[in-house]
Amino acid sequence: MDGALKALSREKLPDHVGPCYFRRLGASWLLTNDWGHHARLDQAQFESFFAGAPDKESGWFKGLVDKGFVRDHLDFRGLSSRFARQHSYLWSGPRLHIAVLTSRCNQGCAYCQAGSSLANGKGADMSFDTARKVVEFAFRSPVPEMTIEFQGGEPLLNWETLEFITRYAREFAGTSGRTLRLAVVTNLTLLDDEKLAFLMENRVGVCTSLDGPAAVHDRNRPWFGGSAHASVEHWLKVIAQRYPDEPGRRHPRPNALLTVTKASLPHAEAIVDEYARLGLTSLFARPLSPFGAARRSWKAIGVAVPEFLDFYRRCLDRALALSLEGVPMRERGAGMLLTKILRNRDPGFTDLRSPCGAGFGQLAYDHDGGVFTCDEGRLLAAEGEPLLRLGSVFDTPYEDAVQHPTVRACAVASNLEDQPVCAGCAYRPFCGVCPAYNFAAQDTIWGRMPTNDRCAVYQGMFDLIFERLEDERLRPVLESWAGDGAPCGPECAGSAEG
């Protein structure tokens, strides 16, 4: 049996051990607590803390005192203040509103998670009437700041409605004194000069997909109009050249999402380099989720957890190496985790909260006005499972939607205190589960964490980040990534794309 666990032979836990979680990381141990603090202990310190008589004058023990690990030295006021700041989203209501402008798309991505179709039927588009109702519904949220994110399908296929919502929502925000952020998740192939001017003029953040160099991107994202990669490259350059930041005026910088498939695996470093070559300063490497076409083509393109984590490690290390060379590059998934770990702040990523943001952190609106807990809930419905549908903007009052029994069920199911494995996990203070993912992958919104791939991915990411934080050369870079929000808002990074 592990020597560090000799404490078990004691009948009583030492009195000084306060609320904490622990995990072995290599040769040392990680301690965390609910107040968002963490500490690394070597083997002797760990054993001493849990079983022996620690030297209470030692630096490491005093460090634990300062961080709220020692039971008889708890600063209740300070710790509760940290907890409240870390969980400030619990009292705010939905800040992220995802408007699916159309279910049509002009690309045929093998991994499409958005339930998109190539059909041309206008019935797949959001009408002005529906769009008006969506805006009015979203503005019922009791939040002083909110984001409306345009999704699809390919949202530029329904450009008129995008324009309509942008103007209508901006006017609404102005008259009710609220801050509004807008973002569009687009493949850029339908952009033109006029549309781009409108987006920039109205400060609509642009979030696109970039899966790497042309060979990888075009294989993942076939487009009948030619090379999708060439289109992305063209428009990223145009935006950079035509809309540079000026004194007193900052244009939203484009962001890109990387979806990792089997085809990506050999190219981790080249993919990060491609982001840098195109002037992007961050990437967000995401594993496939079991929604839409991705579920059906999993055998051909899906990536096992160890493969993804190996790929992720290489991406992270390449981004760190570029940063050390002075090339600005940041992995945004790591940035979000670091914001929680090092800044004690919620980065605004609704998928990684406890409870998750389903219904009271975000809402998604389908093109027909259907209201869902989140975009993933909408994707489930597109596959015939309306479990996470809360109603319609036409006949469901806002209050009924956000207090819907489904929202409550998601909150309970994603509260980590109630998750058997999560409740004792060292990463609990920084993590979150996704009921929609759990349902898609394991047929239950509770999920079963021991065999849950999303859980395994996050555990691996946390392990890696805590390991890299121990490297004195890398730590300043990682600290600079924490709290560095994306121009279009970190929220859009978490949504499934069209």
């Binding site: 404490a7 209501g93 019922r140 956000v402």
Partner: protein
């Protein structure tokens, strides 16, 4: 069991390993191990384990399970010993964020007196009970107007583009 070979039975002493810890270990190890549990009739648990197909074959499944059970037992004890304190801090945070001034508890407890800690925990539990009754968990479900926000004079239908 296919090709998975189970270990001989081994016992976990009920005086050391609470049944919850053993169950938690079995649950946590589900990706790597198959686990069979039965009570030993003396408060402890009799265990057999087998490495799942595809799991790291160099691992000793009994040692793996014993270590996980030990870790779970330690977690259980830490959690049980600190439940009151943790709930107190979390409740203070909830009440504070909900607009109610939490009771000041100073910068810490007296250092060595266990009795003082026990007394505080009792007070805390009573306080939690009293304050929880006044906490409105539905605040996030209110509308902008109900929460005191200015009513938006939204563009009239037809006015917007």
């Amino acid at each position: 069991m296919n090709n998975e070979v189970a270990t001989p039975e081994f016992a976990l002493d009920g005086g050391v390993f609470h049944a919850d810890a053993v169950l938690a270990a079995a649950h946590v190890m589900a990706r790597r191990l198959r686990v069979w549990l039965k009570p030993d009739g003396k408060g402890g648990t009799v265990v057999r384990v087998a490495l799942r197909e595809g799991a790291d074959g160099t691992s000793d499944p009994e040692a793996l399970f014993r270590e996980e059970a030990a870790a779970q037992e330690l977690r259980r004890r830490v959690s049980a010993a600190n439940k009151g304190l943790r709930e107190y801090v979390v409740t203070q945070a909830l009440l504070s964020a909900a607009g109610e001034r939490p009771e000041a508890q100073g910068g810490g407890l007296s250092k060595e007196e266990d009795a003082e800690i026990d007394r505080l925990i009792s007070e805390v539990e009573a306080e939690i009970e009293a304050k929880a009754a006044r906490f409105d968990p539905g605040a996030a479900g209110k509308t902008w107007e109900e929460s005191g926000g200015r009513s938006p004079e939204g563009p009239q239908p037809g006015k917007a583009p």
